[in-house]
């Protein structure tokens, strides 16, 4: 070995690094520094999510029209199965049930696809993680943001359905905004938790569809929990109603649908929505950050 001689002969690597102010490559930044780095990358996060969204339908002939057509077809299928065949609208007028069902499907899909995208956020983008520097949380956040934009397209369909069934725009529609913000926070936190878990165990991508489907049926997407469970012990309905997916669905229905009043919501529903959002957003972020330097090992 012919390393060039230097006055630093005899120093260990760590001492040499300290002397010249070198830092460990790929070390995890402090939480505060990490937030700052993420903020610096906000344009990338937004551009990446929008690029993913556009790329999704770029080969289709109808192009971006599918952004609206896909949720519309989804709503039609659920209406056909649950509204016409199974008649799951027990105790609800048709004018309430159809928007109730469509809202439930869209709002739950928002959480569901955020989770599924989160699982693959790191493990499906190892090429990117191994090639470029950026705070890795950019990926799950970007995917959650992509789903939010997707939901905004679905909202167009939702408004049409609501008006079509006699719920006209009124002041309470403004509540949609805080409800969406809280659900987005919750979804992002959940996506970050799933991203870390999925980076370590890619098998989760196979398992999660079953978990999510169970969660969907337990959250009252296509039926009203209190009506469906009125013969069972009360605590079951209470637990199901307090689960975050049910809370965000109910808030959106309450805001949007004329005949869906506050008597259908559990007590302190806004506090619960805020609590779930903060718990998962903060907890998920810290949990994700804790493994920052290990993503990419595969």
């Amino acid at each position: 070995m012919s390393a060039p001689p230097s006055p630093d002969e005899g120093l260990t690597a760590a001492q040499l690094a300290a002397k010249y102010g070198l830092s460990v490559s790929g070390a995890r930044p402090s939480l505060f520094e990490y937030v700052r780095q993420l903020w610096d990358r906000r344009h990338f996060i937004l551009a990446f999510s929008r690029a993913k969204l556009t790329a999704q339908y770029s080969q289709a002939k109808l192009g971006q029209l599918w952004q609206v057509a896909t949720p519309l077809l989804n709503a039609a299928v659920y209406f056909f199965i649950f509204g016409l065949i199974l008649k799951a609208d027990r105790g609800m007028d048709r004018e309430v049930y159809i928007p109730f069902l469509v809202t439930g499907v869209f709002v739950f899909t928002f959480t569901q696809s955020s989770v599924m995208a989160g699982v693959r956020a790191i493990s499906g983008n190892l090429g990117l993680v191994r090639a470029l520097h950026f705070p890795r949380a950019s990926l799950p956040i970007s995917f959650a943001l992509q789903q939010l934009q997707q939901l905004l397209f679905s909202m167009i369909v939702l408004f049409v359905v609501a008006v079509g069934f006699g719920s006209y725009p009124r002041l309470s529609w403004l509540l949609i905004v805080p409800a969406l913000v809280l659900q987005f926070l919750f979804n992002t936190g959940l996506a970050m938790i799933m991203a870390r878990a999925g980076a370590k165990t890619p098998d989760l991508a196979q398992l999660m569809p079953f978990v999510m489907r169970t969660w969907m049926y337990a959250s009252g997407v296509m039926f009203s929990i209190p009506i469906m469970l009125k013969d069972r012990p009360e605590w079951i309905a209470t637990v199901l109603q307090w689960n975050p997916a049910a809370i965000y669905m109910d808030l959106m229905r309450f805001a949007l649908i004329d005949g869906y009043g506050s008597e259908n919501l559990p007590d302190h529903v806004w506090a619960a929505a805020l609590g779930w959002a903060l718990l998962f957003a903060v907890g998920g972020f810290v949990y994700f950050w804790k493994a920052e330097e290990r993503y990419g090992r595969g």
Binding site: R41, H43, A51, L128, R130
Partner: protein, 259 residues
């Protein structure tokens, strides 16, 4: 190397007994059937079904400001892995890498999307490399002109999947080379595009080299190593086999490869 001594011999990259291990799921030797996988799961023992690939084994070196270092070795000897570890993109199994600032790999391929137009890819790639929107706007025309994509018509507004492989490679290089780097690492990036573009990219790399503090170059082309580097690390099976001035190491390497 004598002319670089004037730079007061400031280290920019220190690798200390670096080990890199890849874990590959589902590549354990044995039958690939579902029953074989099940029986592996049933068997006790740590990390079932995971095979480890020890790509870099105990590499140590110190790189100084102003050096251009070539990495040579046969395929699969760990050159690219070592580069990624220095850049902090692959976490080391053992050992440490210390760096001055943030070393960056020349290349944005992974961030680009074939379904998007060249135009949007320039912006996306720039943002992924950490450039600001203003910097990208400033350099946009320069990037497009350099790639030469628009020489044969308005291709920059078409999706990248419609490009020929040469055109796509040119655009990728042009985006990647648009940013200035402290410690720059180039992984066989010289061999893209046609003859004319190759010359242009070699020139651009020389420019980048001048601006960068330290340059690492991975290449199988001994001529481009000789032209650009003043020091060479020779890796073989993940171990550092030789480290020294370009001529000495290349002479030994050529003897080894039988050229």
């Amino acid at each position: 190397m004598a002319e670089h001594r004037t730079d007061a011999h400031i280290p920019t990259v220190i690798a200390d007994e670096l080990h890199i291990v890849y874990r590959v799921n589902g590549a354990k030797t044995g039958k690939g059937s579902a029953t074989a996988a099940l029986s592996r799961i049933m068997k006790r023992g740590e990390e079932r079904g995971v095979r480890k690939v020890h790509a870099v084994r105990g590499v140590s070196f110190v790189a100084y400001r102003g050096e251009a270092i070539g990495l040579i070795g046969s395929n699969g000897s760990g050159k690219s892995t070592l580069l990624r570890a220095i850049a902090g993109l692959l976490p080391p199994e053992k050992g440490k890498v210390y760096t001055d600032g943030q070393p960056s790999l020349l290349g944005v391929n992974a961030a680009l999307m074939n379904d998007l137009t060249g135009e949007r890819n320039v912006i996306l790639g720039g943002l992924a490399m950490g450039m600001t929107r203003e910097q990208i706007k400033e350099r946009y025309q320069e990037i497009v002109d350099f790639s030469g994509i628009n020489e044969k018509g308005d291709f920059i507004t078409l999706p990248m999947r419609t490009y020929s492989s040469g055109m796509a490679a040119r655009l990728r290089f042009s985006i990647a080379a648009a940013k200035d780097h402290d410690v720059l690492m180039i992984d066989e990036a010289l061999a893209t595009g046609d003859r004319k573009f190759q010359k242009r990219s070699e020139e651009r790399i020389r420019e980048l080299r001048k601006e960068a503090g330290t340059v690492f170059l991975v290449s199988h082309n001994n001529k481009s190593i000789r032209d650009t580097c003043n020091r060479v690390l020779w890796l073989e099976r993940g171990e550092l086999r030789m480290d020294g001035p370009t001529d000495e190491v290349l002479k030994e390497y050529e003897k080894f490869t039988g050229k």
